[in-house]
C-alpha cells in the first residue's frame, strides 16, 4: 500500500485576535499534520484555542483574527496564497465542518431538504432532481431512518441526534476530504453520542474521509482517532498515537486530564481522581518558560520558568512529542485510594419513595405526560443515590417533586417521618426547608447576578434560621466559604467576577447554609470544564462525608456516578428500570437498558468496552410504548410479551431490582460491559 500523503499540514501556525486591549495570541506555534483518511483528536480545556485553530483551517477567522505566523497547507496548497474564491471552493469540496450545536447550524425556517440541496444547486449548478437524490442518499448514509420524510421536515421536528446527523450529512454532501468535528456530541445523550461516534467510524471506513476531532473528552477521542494532539493555552503540549498516549501520558497536563476524569469502568476504590488546580492562563498573561508551570505539580523554579520549552521528540521510532523539560523524570504518583465507607448493617433509611406518580396535563388536546410512574426506592442516610438516565426520562421531574417545586399526582415520598409527595413548598415548615436543599446544574444561573456572594449566602443563613444577628451571619458565611474552599474575601464579590467552578462552589455553600440532611444535586458538574469537574466532585464528596449529608444526584455521566454514588437508580421514560447498589448496577446482571447505557459511555482508558448502540429514538412520553417502556429499542427483546405486558419487578439478592421479562439467571449470563481483565491497573 502507498504511504498516505499529507492532506492538511499546519506548520508553526500562530493566530492572534486584535482587540481593543491589543493583540491576543490565541494559538502559538502549532504544527500538526493530518494524512489522507486519518483521524486526529485535538484535546484540551475550553479556552485552549482548539476552535480558533479549526476556524483558521477553514480560513474563517473573521475580521479580528488573523494567522500571524506559520503556514496552513491543504492538499499541498498554502491557504495564505489562495484567493477568496479558492478558499470558498476549498471550504465546500475540501473541508467540511460539524459544529457542536446542531440546532444553531440549521436554519429553523427552512426544510431540511432545501438546506441540503441549496449548496449543490447554487454552487455546483446541479439540477434540482440530482441534488435531491444526492441529499437523500447522504441522509441514508448517515443512517437517518426514512430520508424522504426527513427531507420534508423542519429542524425542530427532529431530535437532537437526528439534527446532528443532518449536519454531518450537510458537511458530507460536497464530498470533502477532511471533516472538522468541533465537539459534535457534547450536547447529546450518551446513547445518542455512541450512535454518532459509530456513524463517524463507519464513514471513515466507507469514504476514507480524514477527520480532525475536537473534543474535551479523551474517551471519545480514543474511540475514533489514531492520533491525538493535546492543546494547552494555545500550544500543543503533547502529540502521539492514541495507543501510546493512553498507555503512557508524558506531559503533566495530559496526565492531569486522565486523572481528573472519573471512569465508569473502574470501581471507585480503584479510582484516584485528582483535579488540575487553577485555570488556563489567559492568552495575554501566559507565564514565561513552560506555559503549564502555574498548574504543574512537577514545577521546578529556575528550570521550568527559565526558557520557552520546545516540543521534543520522545524517540526516533514514533512521532510522539512532548513539551516538557522533565518528562523523563516524572510519573504519576499513586494517590490515596477511596476509603470504603463502613457498610454497617444499621443502614437507616432517610428517604423512602413508594409508587410515586407525576402526571402533567398538557393544555392542548388534553394530552397526558406521565413523567414519573410508580417510582419506588429508598435512600440510606449519609449515602449518595444517583438517578441516571437519558434526558427526558423524568429525573428532573422527580427532583422537583422531592423539593416541592411541584406536587406529585400519587404515591409517597417519606422523608424521615414527613410525606413530601403532596406538600408544596409554601406549606413546608421552616425546619424541613432547612433539611432539604439543592445544588443546581448551570453555574451561570445558580447565583443572582445582582447581589454579592456574601449577601446571597447570608440571606440563606438568615432565612433558614441558622443565625439571626449580623455578626453571626457573617461568621457563618465565612465558615461556609471556607467549607467550599473559597477565600473569605469572596463574600464581597459579584457572581460575574467568578469562574464557573467558583460559582458552583458558592452554590454549594448556599445549599449547605443550614446544615441540610439531604441535598439534591441536579447535574452538578456537567456544565463545567473537565479539570473543574473533578474538583467539584471531590468537594461534594468531602462535605457530604464531614457533615453526614445524604446526597441525591441527578446525572447522565456514568463515570461521575460510579465515582460518587453508593446506590443507583436507572430511569427510562419515567420508570425505574433498575435499582441497586453501585456495585450491583455496574456489574451483571444488567437491565438491557443499563447495559446499553454503560456500553455507550466513553471511557478514557485503553480498555475497549463492548458496544451496544441503541437503535431508534427515545419514544415520546406522551405516547409511551405498551408493555415494557424500553421494548422499542431493546436489543434483547424477547417478543410479543414485551409489547403487551408490563415486565415484572425482579428482586435479586441485596435489594437489587430489575424491571424485565428476561429471567435474572439469563440476564446474569452476559459478560460484564467493562471486562476486568482488559482494565488497566492504575498502580
Amino acid at each position: 500500500m502507498l504511504k498516505p500523503s499529507t492532506l492538511l499540514a499546519l506548520d508553526d501556525v500562530s493566530i492572534s485576535y486584535h482587540t481593543r486591549a491589543g493583540a491576543v495570541p490565541a494559538v502559538t506555534g502549532v504544527s500538526l499534520a493530518i494524512d489522507e483518511g486519518e483521524a486526529v483528536g485535538l484535546v484540551g480545556e475550553s479556552g485552549c484555542g482548539k476552535s480558533t485553530l479549526a476556524m483558521a483551517i477553514l480560513g474563517h477567522l473573521g475580521g479580528r483574527g488573523a494567522v500571524v505566523g506559520g503556514e496552513i497547507r491543504f492538499a499541498g496548497r498554502a491557504l495564505a496564497g489562495m484567493s477568496p474564491d479558492e478558499i470558498r471552493r476549498m471550504r465546500g469540496r475540501g473541508i467540511g465542518i460539524v459544529y457542536q450545536e446542531a440546532m444553531a447550524a440549521l436554519n429553523p425556517s427552512m426544510r431540511i431538504g432545501a438546506q441540503l440541496t441549496e449548496t449543490l444547486i447554487v454552487h455546483r449548478g446541479t439540477s434540482r432532481d440530482a441534488a435531491r437524490k444526492a441529499a437523500i442518499a447522504t441522509l441514508a448514509e448517515v443512517k437517518l431512518p426514512d430520508p424522504e420524510r426527513v427531507m420534508d421536515a423542519y429542524p425542530h421536528q427532529l431530535s437532537g441526534g437526528q439534527q446532528q446527523r443532518v449536519v454531518i450529512a450537510m458537511a458530507l454532501l460536497p464530498e470533502p476530504r477532511l471533516l472538522l468535528l468541533d465537539e459534535p456530541t457534547t450536547a447529546l445523550d450518551v446513547t445518542v453520542e455512541a450512535g454518532i461516534i459509530d456513524l463517524l467510524n463507519g464513514l471513515r471506513r466507507s469514504r476514507g474521509t480524514a477527520m480532525l476531532f475536537i473534543s474535551h473528552n479523551l474517551g471519545l477521542v480514543g474511540q475514533l482517532c489514531e492520533r491525538v494532539a493535546v492543546m494547552y493555552s494555545g500550544e500543543l503540549v503533547e502529540t502521539g498515537s492514541v495507543a501510546d498516549m493512553f498507555a503512557t501520558p508524558r506531559h503533566p497536563y495530559t496526565m492531569g486530564l486522565f486523572s481528573c476524569i472519573p471512569r465508569p469502568d473502574l470501581p471507585r476504590r480503584e479510582q484516584h481522581l485528582t483535579p488540575i488546580r487553577g485555570q488556563v492562563s489567559p492568552p495575554n498573561a501566559r507565564p514565561p518558560g513552560c506555559i503549564f508551570a502555574p498548574r504543574c505539580d512537577w514545577f521546578q523554579a529556575g528550570r521550568c520558568d527559565a526558557v520557552r520549552v520546545p516540543l521534543e521528540a520522545v524517540d526516533l521510532a514514533s512521532d510522539a512529542r512532548v513539551r516538557c523539560l522533565r518528562w523523563r523524570e516524572i510519573a504519576p504518583e499513586p494517590r490515596p485510594a477511596w476509603e470504603a465507607l463502613a457498610t454497617g448493617a444499621a443502614e437507616q433509611t432517610i428517604l423512602a419513595v413508594s409508587r410515586l406518580d407525576k402526571t402533567y396535563q398538557l393544555r392542548s388536546g388534553g394530552a397526558v405526560v406521565r413523567a414519573n410512574q410508580q417510582l419506588s426506592f429508598d435512600v440510606p442516610r449519609g449515602r449518595t443515590l444517583a438517578v441516571v438516565g437519558e434526558s427526558g426520562c423524568g429525573k428532573s421531574t422527580f427532583a422537583n417533586v422531592l423539593m416541592g417545586l411541584t406536587s406529585a399526582t400519587a404515591g409517597e415520598i417519606r422523608f424521615e417521618t414527613t410525606d413530601l409527595a403532596k406538600l408544596p413548598l409554601d406549606r413546608r415548615p421552616a425546619l424541613l426547608l432547612r433539611d432539604l436543599q439543592m445544588v443546581f446544574q448551570n453555574p451561570d444561573e445558580t447565583l443572582n447576578p445582582c447581589y454579592s456572594v456574601g449577601r446571597q449566602i447570608g440571606r440563606a443563613v438568615r432565612k433558614l434560621g441558622v443565625e439571626r444577628d449580623r455578626a453571626g451571619v457573617q461568621a457563618r458565611v465565612r465558615a461556609l466559604l471556607g467549607l467550599t474552599r473559597l477565600p473569605a474575601a469572596f463574600a464581597s464579590r459579584r457572581p460575574r467576577q467568578l469562574s464557573g467552578g467558583q460559582k458552583q462552589r458558592v452554590g454549594i455553600a448556599r445549599a449547605f447554609a443550614g446544615t441540610p440532611k439531604l441535598v439534591v444535586a441536579d447535574e452538578p458538574v456537567s456544565a463545567l470544564d473537565v479539570s473543574v469537574q473533578a474538583a467539584i466532585t471531590e468537594l461534594l464528596r468531602d462535605i457530604q462525608r464531614n457533615q453526614d449529608t445524604t446526597l441525591v444526584i441527578i446525572s447522565h455521566d456514568l463515570g461521575f456516578v460510579r465515582y460518587i454514588a453508593d446506590r443507583v437508580v436507572v430511569m427510562y421514560l419515567g420508570q425505574v428500570m433498575e435499582a441497586g447498589s453501585a456495585e450491583e448496577v455496574f456489574a451483571p446482571p444488567y437491565h438491557p437498558y443499563t447495559e446499553a447505557l454503560l456500553s455507550a459511555a466513553p471511557v478514557a482508558g485503553l480498555a475497549r468496552n463492548r458496544r451496544i448502540v441503541l437503535s431508534g429514538e427515545l419514544p415520546s412520553a406522551m405516547a409511551p410504548p405498551s408493555g415494557c417502556p424500553f421494548q422499542t429499542r431493546c436489543p434483547r427483546k424477547l417478543g410479543a410479551i414485551c409489547e403487551t405486558e408490563r415486565p415484572p419487578e425482579q428482586l435479586l439478592a441485596g435489594g437489587h431490582r430489575i424491571l424485565c421479562h428476561i429471567p435474572p439467571d439469563e440476564l446474569g449470563r452476559v459478560p460484564p460491559v467493562y471486562a476486568p481483565e482488559e482494565t488497566l491497573a492504575v498502580d
Binding site: T274, P275, R277, G278, Q279, P294, M403, G404, L405, L425, R428, A430, L433, L436, Q437, M438, F440, Q441, N442, E445, T446, L447, N448, P449, C450, Y451, S452, Q456, R459, A460, K463, L464, R485, L486, P487, A489, F490, S492, R493, R494, Q497, L498, S499, G501, Q502, R505, G507, R510, A511, A513, A535, E538, L539, D542
Partner: protein, 297 residues
C-alpha cells in the same frame, strides 16, 4: 486534595472591581449619546425649577400682541422669542410651560411603571389565571387607539393634570406590563429563583428582590423612551385642547392657540415646537445611550 482545592480558589482571584449592581449608571459619562441626552434633560429641569427667577415676564400677562422675536417691550425689556396673539411673552410661557411637562410626564410615566411592573411581575411569575386575566385586559386596552382612549377619558372626566396622568397611565401601562412579563418569564426559570423558593422566601420577595433587579436594565431604557413619548402625548393633548385648562402655559396648548397665525407669525408655533422636540430628543438620546451601557454590562 483539599489543599489543592484551597489553592484553586485562592490562586485565581479575578480582577478586583467595585462590583456595582447598577455599575452602568455611573458609566453614563462613557457614552457620548447618553451624556448629551442627560444634559438636555438637566437643562430643562433647571429651567423648570428656576422659572420664577429667569422668566422675563409673567407668563399670562398680555403686553403687546403679535410682537416678533427681539422686539422691545414698553418697559425696555426684550421679547426674545416674541409674543403671541394675546401679547404674552413666548419665552416666559415656554419657561413656565416646562414645569407642566416636567411634572406631569415623569408622574404619568412613574404611575404607568408602577402598575405595569406590578401586573407584569404577577402575570409572569404566577402564571395561570392571573396571567390570563391580566393579559386579556392588556389586549383589550391595546386594542383601542391610544388617542381615542385619551379623548374619551379627558372629555368624560374633564381636562386636568390628574386626568392626564390617569389617561396616560391607563394607555401605557399595558405595554410595560407586556415588557415586564416577558422579562420575568425568562428569569423565573433561573436556578437562583428556585433557590430562593427553596429557602422559603415569600412570593413577593422572589418577585421584587430576586427577579425585578435583573430586569431593571431594559425597564430603565424603556422608561426613558416612554418619558419622551409621554412628553409628546401631553403636547398632543394640549394641541387637541385637552391639556391643562387655559390660561396656564402648556407647550401643546401654545401651539394649538397660535396655529392659525402660523403662516404669518411662524415664531408663535416654532418655538414651543422646538421646546417639545428638544426635550423628547433628550430622553431618546439618553435611552439610546443607556441601552448600549446596559447590554455592555
Amino acid at each position: 486534595m483539599s489543599a489543592a482545592g484551597a489553592e484553586i480558589a485562592a490562586e485565581v482571584l479575578p480582577p478586583p472591581s467595585r462590583g456595582l449592581r447598577f455599575g452602568w449608571i455611573r458609566r453614563i459619562g462613557h457614552s457620548k449619546v447618553a451624556t448629551i441626552g442627560l444634559l438636555i434633560i438637566l437643562f430643562w429641569a433647571v429651567v423648570a425649577v428656576t422659572a420664577p427667577w429667569i422668566s422675563p415676564f409673567p407668563p399670562n400677562l398680555p403686553i403687546r400682541p403679535m410682537a416678533s422675536a427681539g422686539v422691545r417691550a414698553p418697559n425696555g425689556a426684550v421679547f426674545w422669542l416674541g409674543t403671541d396673539h394675546l401679547g404674552r411673552d413666548i419665552l416666559s410661557r415656554i419657561i413656565w410651560g416646562s414645569r407642566t411637562v416636567l411634572v406631569y410626564a415623569p408622574l404619568a410615566t412613574a404611575c404607568s411603571f408602577v402598575i405595569g411592573i406590578t401586573a407584569g411581575l404577577l402575570a409572569g411569575f404566577k402564571r395561570g389565571w392571573i396571567d390570563e386575566a391580566l393579559s386579556r385586559i392588556t389586549d383589550l386596552v391595546l386594542a383601542f387607539p391610544a388617542l381615542v382612549l385619551y379623548i374619551i377619558i379627558i372629555s368624560k372626566f374633564g381636562a386636568s393634570g390628574i386626568n392626564i396622568v390617569l389617561a396616560v397611565t391607563l394607555a401605557s401601562s399595558p405595554a410595560i406590563m407586556r415588557l415586564t412579563r416577558g422579562l420575568v418569564l425568562a428569569l423565573r426559570t433561573r436556578a437562583f429563583v428556585a433557590a430562593a423558593q427553596l429557602r422559603g422566601e415569600p412570593a413577593w420577595r422572589v418577585m421584587v428582590v430576586e427577579i425585578l433587579p435583573n430586569a431593571s436594565g431594559p425597564l430603565i431604557v424603556d422608561a426613558c423612551l416612554r418619558l419622551g413619548y409621554v412628553v409628546i402625548t401631553i403636547g398632543t393633548l394640549g394641541f387637541l385642547g385637552l391639556g391643562l385648562p387655559p390660561p396656564d402655559p402648556d407647550w401643546g396648548g401654545m401651539i394649538n392657540d397660535t396655529r392659525k397665525f402660523a403662516l404669518v407669525f411662524p415664531h408663535m408655533v416654532l418655538f414651543p415646537c422646538l421646546a417639545v422636540c428638544s426635550l423628547v430628543l433628550g430622553f431618546n438620546l439618553l435611552a439610546d445611550g443607556l441601552r448600549e451601557l446596559v447590554t455592555e454590562d
